[in-house]
Structure formats: structure tokens, C-alpha cells
């Protein structure tokens, strides 16, 4: 069902220093930058192999990533796996008894179709499904 790691999401308080860490010390090319108003984040994608690191800076303290930062500080926020068909993957997850955050796909970064599984039944991991282009 899950084809590969699409990206890991990292919550950051200081976006510019996180970009500097990943581009200069880690040598990852910055490939995309986007403000996703409906998720309340400014997001930056960096390339690493066939995957990405997604840096997430909250636009407001009361956004989901803003609350995560306040509670736990900067760090690993979620993992996203590629699936061929996010709607079919959601159906399969529902049948497997997993709790969904998104009952239907929504538009994520770079116009991708995405959906989140609830950490409660995903081993404590906020898990995103991303439809491959």
C-alpha cells in the first residue's frame, strides 16, 4: 500500500536557520517554498534521495503546528508516505480500523492530494498519505 517515504515533516520556530542547517550543513537542495494558509504554515521542501524534508513554520500560535511547537518544541512532526491512490488508501485504512483525520483527500503542498491518519491508531505517529503524481 505505501510506496515510499514522500517526506518527513519538521516543525521549526526559526525557518531561516532551519533552511541554513539543511542546505549548508546537510547539503540538501531547497526545491520549493509555499505558504499553505489552510494548514496555517509556511512550508519549505528540500530534496534528499527520492524523498523530501518538509520544514513547517506556523503562521499563528493557535494553528496545529503552532500548538505542537508550544507543547514539544521544534522537531519531527509527521511522516508522509506515497500511495498510488489516496482515496483507495483511505478506504483501506478505514477498513483496517484506523482512525482518520481526513475522511476525504484535500489539497496539500504543490497541489498534491493528501490525507492524514490519526496518531492514535498509527503508533503515535501523525501519518500523511500523499498521492504520487
Amino acid at each position: 500500500m505505501f510506496g515510499r517515504i514522500d517526506h518527513i515533516g519538521v516543525a521549526v520556530a526559526d525557518l531561516e536557520s532551519a533552511i541554513q542547517l539543511h542546505t549548508e550543513a546537510y547539503g540538501m537542495p531547497l526545491v520549493h517554498r509555499e505558504t499553505i494558509a489552510e494548514q496555517g504554515v509556511e512550508a519549505v521542501l528540500l530534496d534528499v534521495g527520492e524523498s523530501h524534508v518538509e520544514l513547517l513554520k506556523p503562521l499563528a500560535e493557535d494553528s496545529p503546528v503552532g500548538k505542537f511547537l508550544a507543547a514539544r518544541g521544534p522537531g519531527l512532526h509527521h511522516v508522509a508516505y506515497q500511495v498510488a491512490d489516496v482515496r483507495a488508501a483511505l478506504d483501506a485504512a478505514r477498513k483496517a480500523g484506523l482512525r482518520l483525520i481526513d475522511e476525504t483527500p484535500r489539497t496539500g503542498i504543490r497541489g498534491t492530494q493528501v490525507a492524514f491518519l490519526h496518531p492514535k491508531t498509527a503508533g503515535g505517529v501523525l501519518t500523511e498519505l500523499v498521492e504520487a503524481h
Copy 2:
């Protein structure tokens, strides 16, 4: 410097149910299982694309993963990136001003040479370097 995501490490309290989630609901083949006494964990590797998910169950409550579980519950624990030469990558990280947990490489899962960067200067992310075979 960093070639790809080698694996994400996930701290688990119930290893068998985490294996069931990843193999049955997520469709990831289980490829390796190992008790790493010096890290105080029982570890399981699952394949996903060119990367792995590494499930980590602590052998004792006072181990690093045991303390992580007690403080934060199950969930994302670390990310590991592949590098061509872990000793050279440690030198570069040191020169970039990053704090190291391991000053020299040690043996990780499946006999790999690995080293950890401290989350303090790695954006709050416990970051592992794994030498490619």
C-alpha cells in the same frame, strides 16, 4: 552530504501491534529483527521504497528509548540519513558547528557504521548518520 533517508525510527511500547500495523495495514515487508543490547532496544526493520521504518522497543525503562516513551509516548523518535563516509560526515558536522552525540562511529543495526547528531543543533531532531554499504 546526505544521500537519502535511510530510515525513520519509531519508539513503540507494543512491538507486535506496531509490526501488525506496518505489515498488514501499511503493507511494508518485515526484513530484519535484532536485539541491540548496547542501545537497549529490540529493533525491527520494515521496507518502504529505498528506505526503512525502524521500530524500537526499549529493553528497560531507564534506556534512552525507554525514557523517551515515558516522557512522550510512542511516536517518531529519530531520522537517519545515508552518508558515503560516516567519519567524514562527522568531521563536516563538527566543522559546521553541530553538536555530536557520537564523536566516532559505532556499530548500529545490521552491522552498519552509525553516529548520532545532537537534536540541540539539529533543529530539535535526533539525527542519525548511517554509512551506506
